[in-house]
Structures are given as C-alpha cells and as structure tokens.
C-alpha cells in the first residue's frame, strides 16, 4: 500500500512538473505542501490522503465550473527554511491558491511570502496564532490551540463536573497553546489545575510522570499530544494503576491511537472536530469514503486538509475567475459551509468558528460524547 502511494506521488509530481511550463487552460492548480518525509511524515501522509480524496471527489462531480482541479504537491519536511523557496516556486509557477498541509513553522514562514504576493493561502491544521496575522490573504480552517483548550476546560468543568485537573502537555506549539487556552478558561468553570507535567515530541516512556500523577491524585487528566506519544502515555498511565478519566486532544484522533494504547484506550475522551456518529452528510461521506479509498480509518489531519481543499474549491467556483483577489474575497465570504469538519465561517482575521466535538472511545471505536457549542467561549481572535 505504501509503495503504491509512493508511485502515485511520483506520477502526481511528474504531472506537476510537466505542467509547469504551459499552463493548461483546462485544469485549476492548487498548491499543496506537507511533510511527506522526515519526522512528521505520518501527518504528511494523512494530510496528502485527505487532500487527494477531496480532489478526486470534486473532479468526479464534474470539477469546478467544468474544469478539473489538480494538486501540485511538494514535500516541505516540516522545515520552515524549505517553505520559503516552495512558496516562491508556487508563485513563480503562477498558482492562484495554495493550501498548507503542514506544521506551524513552514506554514507561518510561507504565509508571509503569500501575503506579500497577494496569493490566497489556507492553513489546514497548523495552530500557531500568528499564521493568520500575516495578513488578509491567509486563512485557517482548523481550531486554534487556545480555542480547543477552552472547549476542554468547559467540558471538564461543566459536563464532567470535575474540579482538580492535572495537565500533561506535549512540549511543542500545539501542546503549549492547548495548555494556555485551558488554563485561561479553567477558572470560569470551577476547574483547578493542580499540576502540570510536560514531555517532548520524542518521548515514549513516561514513568516519572505516571508516578507524579499517582501522587497528585487528580479528578481528571487533560493530556495533549499526538497518537505516537499519546498512545504509549495513556497505556502507561493505565498500566500504572491510574483510573482517573482522561481527556485527550485532536492529536489522538486516529485509529492508530487505539491500536497503540490497546485496551487502555477504552473510555479515553478527546476534543476534536470530527464526529464519527455525525448525521451531517458531509462529515459522514468523508469518513466513509476515506476508509473505502485508503483502507484505513480517517483521522483529524486528513479531515482538516480535506476541508481546506473543499473551501478552496468552493471559493474558486464562487469567484468564477482565476484572479487571486477575487478568490480571496470568496474565501473570506465563506459562510456556514458544510465540510468534513463541520459547518464553518471565517471571521475578519481569517479564522473559523465551529463547534467542538468530544468523542469517547468505546469498543475500540470513536463515538459521540458531547458537543461544545459556545460561540462566545470558542470565538477565535479577531483582527
């Protein structure tokens, strides 16, 4: 399966290269960069899958105003210094819109370049607050970390009715912003942060954190991270005899998390925007189609890039033109648009508002637990 996707990539890249010179009038090209190699390759793979699925389905449905769309895919290795030449390359090739399927570093670096060149740029899941502050051509279709952290505080305080919480925070931009948002909102819901421990991206062994949590004996744990460190972490907490309920984050939102943590995953809750029990046709369709196409369950990263590509395509259709300024206006005007991650609208900073989903793992599958829909609490920052 991996080999096949590799060759598909080759084909896509070769096509991209072949089309550099004579810009085809038929196809609309969307730039897409993601970390396909290097330490973040797992997310890069999901990101590319989600984007490809969107392209395939849009084209199958007849494309945009009769024209097919095509991704111009580039690997950025999640490195900021590779993103700047990539951005300039896209601009040089005359692309009118670009989507980031990458992390905050490269996305923020590229955002400045696209803003200067007045090319619309959509970040799928990078959470650094300064990305959209690059200017009015930059948008983000995912939650900001702080917002998701606030939703978690409300869920723990209002719905779970727990008071004393211990945070276990991944030490990167994602983890730190979640933690910041949580701590900011916690007092409003009567939640007290009694301790916080942090760990690094490469950590897989958490014995000293487990021992500390045991000593602190909180009512609830709020754990940030990705599946590859969250899986072992949750498993070790449970193996250490800690039965405290755990709330995780959208980084756990993949079946790989359940595979790693095994039985320990049962009962773990996460905040995310993908609702597996959703009745929303867009969300349903994405979850089913993804699993059918890639033979693996969908995850949050894939849903986010899928969303971003759909937003981009809809905006191009609405603009009815290849003029970047018109496409930008169309994106900014997106309102109550139904996509795989919910119903989204942009505010004046290019951030979205949407409800947060809380999912719980039961019998090895994600299920609906609660929806946090609080426009005031979850409001993204404005300009």
């Amino acid at each position: 399966m991996q080999i096949k996707s590799g060759s598909r990539l080759l084909v896509a890249a070769a096509l991209g290269a072949a089309l550099v010179a004579p810009a085809s009038a038929q196809t609309i090209k969307i730039g897409f960069h993601a970390p396909l190699t290097g330490f973040a390759a797992a997310d890069g793979k999901s990101a590319l899958n989600g984007a490809e699925l969107a392209v395939e389905e849009i084209n199958a449905a007849g494309g945009i105003n009769g024209r097919k769309i095509e991704l111009v895919v580039v690997d950025d290795q999640a490195k900021a210094d590779q993103a700047v030449p990539i951005a300039n390359k896209y601009i040089g090739e005359g692309l009118k819109i670009v989507v980031s399927g990458s992390y905050s570093g490269p996305t923020r670096a590229a955002a400045g370049v696209f803003q200067k060149a007045q090319i619309p740029y959509i970040s799928s899941y990078a959470i650094h607050p300064d990305i959209t502050r690059a200017g009015n051509y930059v948008f983000r279709t995912s939650f900001m970390g702080e917002v998701q952290g606030r939703a978690a505080a409300k869920f723990i305080g209002d719905i779970m009715k727990k008071k004393n919480v211990t945070l276990i925070t991944l030490n990167n931009d994602f983890g730190q912003s979640l933690s910041a948002g949580f701590k900011e909102a916690a007092p409003k819901f009567g939640v007290k942060v009694i301790s916080e421990y942090t760990y690094a991206m490469g950590d897989r062994q958490f014995g000293s954190i487990v021992a500390s949590v045991k000593r602190d004996n909180p009512d609830m744990l709020y754990v940030s991270g990705y599946f590859f460190n969250g899986g072992p972490l949750v498993a070790q907490l449970r193996a250490g005899g800690i039965k405290t309920p755990i709330l995780g984050t959208e980084g756990f939102d993949t079946h790989n998390f359940i595979k790693i943590a095994g039985p320990a995953a049962e009962g773990v809750m996460i905040t995310t925007s993908l609702d597996r029990d959703s009745k929303s046709p867009a969300m349903r369709k994405f979850i089913d189609d993804y699993e059918k196409k890639f033979n693996t369950p969908a995850d949050m990263v894939a849903a986010s890039t899928n969303t971003a590509i759909n937003v981009a395509a809809a905006a191009i259709a609405k603009a009815g033109s290849d003029d970047p300024a018109k496409i930008r206006d169309a994106i900014a005007g997106t309102k109550d648009f139904q996509v795989s991650t919910g119903k989204i609208s942009f505010n004046d900073l290019g951030e979205i508002y949407k409800a947060a989903q809380v999912q719980v793992i039961k019998d090895g599958k994600f299920h609906h637990q609660a929806t946090i829909d609080d426009p005031q609490l979850l409001a993204p920052p404005m300009k």
Partner: protein, 287 residues
C-alpha cells in the same frame, strides 16, 4: 515512596539505555567509530520482531527473528560501510554512519509506512504486577531481566571464554593480538554480530514497551546512546552500564523537577557536560 518510585523508573530507563548503548561501546572499543547506524540495526530488529510476532503470535519467535535480522545487518554495515574507510579520519566514518541512518530510516518509512506498527497481541504490555504501591508491566520486568542476564552473559564471555579473551586482547592491542594468531578481522565481525544482536533484542523490547515500532524510533539511540558511551568513558563496558543507570535516574528526577527549565534531552546532556567538565575522561574512563 514517591522518590523511590522515581528511582525505580529511572533504573528501568537505565536498563533500556544500557541495552541500547552496549553495542555502541563494543564497536567504539574495537574500532573507534561512533556507530550511529546502530540505530537502524535496532529499528530493523524491532520491525522484524513485530512482524514475526504478529504473524506467529509468539513473542519468543519475535525475539529470535529480531535478533537474527539485526545480527545479519550489523556485520553487513561493517563490511560495506566501515571496513573500506577504517584508515580515514574518524569523522568520515561518522558521517557515513549518519548517511546510513538517514537512508535506512526513510527506507523503513517507505517499506512499513509512516504511522508505525503496533503488536496485535502484546500480552506483556497489558500484564501488570503491583508491589509496595508500585506497578510495573511485564515488558518492564523483562527489560530489567534481559539487561541483567545478557550483560552478565557478556561479562562471562569476555572474561571466561577463549573467544572472549581473544576479543579483549584485540580491543587493547590489535597488532599484538594478530601476532598471537588471533584473526583481527574475524574478531571484528564477531564484535559487530554481538553488538547487533544486543541492539536487535533491545529493539524488540522497546517496541513492546511502547507497543509501537516506528521508523524514527532509533533516533534516541543515535544521540543519547552516544552521550551514554561518552559519559561512561568511551569503550568502557562497565562505564556504559554505570552511565546508563545514572542517566536514567537523572532523567527520571529531572523531568519532574526541572520541568519548567529544561526538557528531557537537555537534562541528559547537561548532566553529560557537567560530568565531562569535571572528569574529561568520563565516569569510568582512563586517561
């Protein structure tokens, strides 16, 4: 109690480090090469072990398969990468080794996928034992047992057997050993074989411990393993053991008490730097 538990956690980590770093020490002792590519031997052992376990359902088969695969790869790396450049300055071998690591890590990603793989029936992972308020799972217990058994076996090999004595003679003085009829080249292969088998077994154990085998899992060995063998005094086997345990304990306390100031890697390397500034030859190294 809490402090005792942190100490226990640190010692378990120390055993894991010892398993990962011993092979590096063996290679360094004999060839003065910082064998970063040992990380890929470790990762290959973990992948093959995992595939064998998921296919056969037996963890014993996993260890045998992991050890064989790793044991085959290590000597191959020696033959085709290091042997031709042994007379070059040390950084040449180091950079070549880094090249092997980068290429193989990406090779694992292409072969086995970027998400990593998990054991389907990791019974050791879910079996836990509690005593005196502390809980350990079976993988952790096996990690400690394996480290103690294999390292003792190695000590017996090195001091009590003809092959072991030949090995030590070669390490301390290759031309002299050759004059006594020891095949230096043969000893090097055996050395890589032992180092690689240890790494392969460590790989399977760490895979079980995390219940996750991923392309980049060897990167820890690639840099922290080097820190450990340097801390121990480069080429000193007992030094490596002491350094592994010391580093495990320092990290265990450090990640809790220095949490606001430094991350785990930084704590480990701060410890290394402080020790080396006081004892430039390492903990048990000789001048």
């Amino acid at each position: 109690m809490y402090y005792a538990e942190l100490l226990l956690v640190g010692l378990i980590w120390g055993c894991t480090y010892a398993m990962m770093a011993l092979g590096l020490t063996l290679v360094y002792g004999l060839l003065r090469i910082l064998h970063v590519a040992q990380a890929t031997v470790f990762t290959l052992g973990a992948y093959i072990g995992l595939l064998a376990a998921n296919y056969s359902g037996s963890l014993a088969v996993a260890f045998i398969a992991g050890a064989i695969a790793a044991g085959a790869l290590g000597p191959l790396i020696y033959r085709f990468v290091y042997q031709p450049i042994l007379d070059r300055p040390p950084f040449v071998a180091l950079v070549a080794s880094i090249g092997v690591l980068i290429a193989m890590e990406d090779g694992f990603r292409l072969l086995f996928g970027p998400y990593g793989l998990s054991f389907e029936h990791n019974t050791w992972f879910t079996t836990t034992y509690s005593f005196a308020g502390m809980t350990m799972n079976l993988v952790q217990i096996w990690m400690v047992v394996t480290a103690v058994v294999l390292l003792s076996a190695f000590a017996i090999f090195a001091t009590r057997t003809r092959a072991g004595v030949a090995w030590r003679a070669t390490v301390s003085d290759p031309p002299m050993a050759e004059s006594f009829g020891i095949s230096v080249s043969g000893v090097r292969y055996v050395n890589f074989l032992i180092a690689s088998v240890l790494a392969g077994i460590a790989g399977v154990l760490v895979g079980l411990l995390n219940n996750l085998v991923e392309p980049g899992m060897g990167s820890v060995i690639a840099y922290k393993g080097l820190a450990i063998i340097v801390l121990g005094g480069l080429g000193s086997v007992p030094g490596t053991l002491v350094a592994s345990l010391a580093l495990g304990v320092v990290e265990s306390y450090g990640t809790v008490f220095l949490d606001k100031v430094l991350d785990r890697d930084a704590i480990a390397f701060l410890f290394l730097i402080v020790v080396l500034m006081i004892r430039p030859q390492g903990l048990l190294g000789r001048r």
